[in-house]
């Protein structure tokens, strides 16, 4: 009996010993397992942004840029996010959409700003996208959807322009996994409360647009790609309950109205 137990323990130890001994070797290096480096991400960010820059018109209006910049800067400052990391671009397009690209590129369509009833709604969506950036969801999604080897070949110039275009389109028009979306929503509420912005309008925004889902959804990219808006609105409200109630607008009402006026033109 004793002999069997000792032999059993030795067998188990032998296995873990072998495993431990083998971990001493850097296999990732030996097998040249490809991993995402900062450089890959940087290059991909540039490539995808180029696609949008070529096809869409970027707003150069200083009022528009400064207003959105104020929102992003405040969010970053109150949440200890490196402001330099977030590169915001406002594109003149009617679609109600905002999305993140690799390396911190954040694209907001003017349609989203115009269709936000108040600045809190816009801030909520921006926070949600910043959360995707901060939580590294963009690269995770890319690796999962198109594979690391394709991504790396893109950065080395072997990937066709068509593949890059398609991928950029995919990033702008499809949502993340449910769990990732929820994670970003919850993080967005944290960002909002830290910045003293009421998260409720963000939830309302989802509610409001989900009602419109049956109507012309042509411009509702952000909502139609983000499933279960109602459910999302509910857990956002639930999560933001009991958080601080003293809120402060980021932009003055005048600036907000001016911003919308400028974009309408």
């Amino acid at each position: 009996m004793k002999k069997t137990i000792i032999q059993g323990i030795i067998t188990v130890l032998l296995f873990f010993g072998t495993w431990f001994a083998l971990t001493q070797i850097d296999w990732v290096k030996v097998f040249k397992v490809q991993q995402v480096t900062d450089k890959t991400e940087q290059k991909l960010g540039e490539l995808f942004w180029e696609v949008f820059k070529k096809t869409e018109k970027e707003s150069q209006n200083p009022l528009v840029i400064n207003s959105v910049d104020s929102i992003v800067t405040l969010i970053c400052k109150t949440n200890k996010i490196d402001r330099e990391k977030i590169k915001i671009h406002i594109l003149k397009k009617d679609n109600i959409n905002a999305f993140a690209l690799p390396n911190g590129h954040l694209i907001v369509y003017s349609g989203l700003i115009l269709n936000s009833d108040n600045q809190e709604e816009l801030t909520g969506v921006i926070c949600h996208e910043i959360a995707h950036i901060e939580l590294n969801h963009v690269m995770k999604k890319l690796v999962k959807e198109i594979g690391l080897s394709v991504l790396i070949s893109m950065t080395t110039g072997n990937g066709g322009g068509e593949v890059i275009k398609e991928t950029a389109k995919m990033l702008s028009s499809s949502a993340f996994d449910r769990s990732l979306e929820k994670e970003a929503d919850i993080k967005a509420v944290d960002y909002l409360t830290n910045a003293r912005v009421n998260p409720e309008p963000f939830a309302n925004f989802l509610y409001k647009l989900s009602d419109k889902e049956h109507e012309a959804t042509k411009y509702l990219t952000w909502i139609s790609t983000h499933p279960d808006s109602k459910e999302r609105a509910e857990y956002i409200i639930e999560y933001s309950k009991g958080k601080l109630t003293e809120y402060k607008p980021i932009l003055t009402n005048k600036t907000w109205n001016n911003l919308k006026e400028e974009l309408k033109e």
Binding site: F15, T23, V28
Partner: protein, 145 residues
């Protein structure tokens, strides 16, 4: 690691064949169930249950084959689900993972070779006891007489 011992009696031709089959069972199942580690265990288990009332020699070897499969199940299942989580979740390939897989391959290979060897020997009616599993089987499997 593997000891050839004298069994309490001389097994007959038919006994040797059935005992040998218990090892072959796990080998065939390895080929079929390579991606799913549970398959070879089930195969050995069915064979074990079918021969529960058989002679001592046959029972003894069925038990040894089953026990060895059982421990491989733990090792392989862990590796299997680790791989699945790398493919489907955010887990990434690390040196730790590769080291584990190599260790798993080494142990499976050892078991595989030992199984083939034992299958051949038991077919000849030679009693083979494995390190640890042999003495464990001696504890579980008792002669009825």
């Amino acid at each position: 690691m593997i000891h050839i011992k004298k069994f309490s009696y001389e097994p007959g031709e038919h006994e040797a064949e059935t005992a040998s089959s218990s090892y072959l069972m796990s080998l065939i199942a390895i080929i079929v169930g390579l991606p799913l580690p549970i398959v070879n265990l089930i195969a050995t288990l069915i064979f074990y249950l079918g021969n529960r009332k058989s002679t001592y020699f046959v029972r003894w070897h069925c038990t040894q084959a089953l026990l060895s499969q059982l421990s491989m199940l733990f090792i392989n299942s862990f590796g299997f689900w680790w791989t699945i989580s790398i493919i489907f979740t955010e887990e990434t390939i690390t040196s730790k993972y590769i080291a584990y897989i190599i260790a798993v391959i080494i142990f499976n290979l050892t078991e595989f070779i030992a199984t083939i060897y034992t299958a051949i020997q038991t077919r000849k009616g030679i009693h083979v006891e494995w390190w640890f599993y042999g003495s464990l089987t001696n504890l579980i499997c008792k002669s009825k007489s």
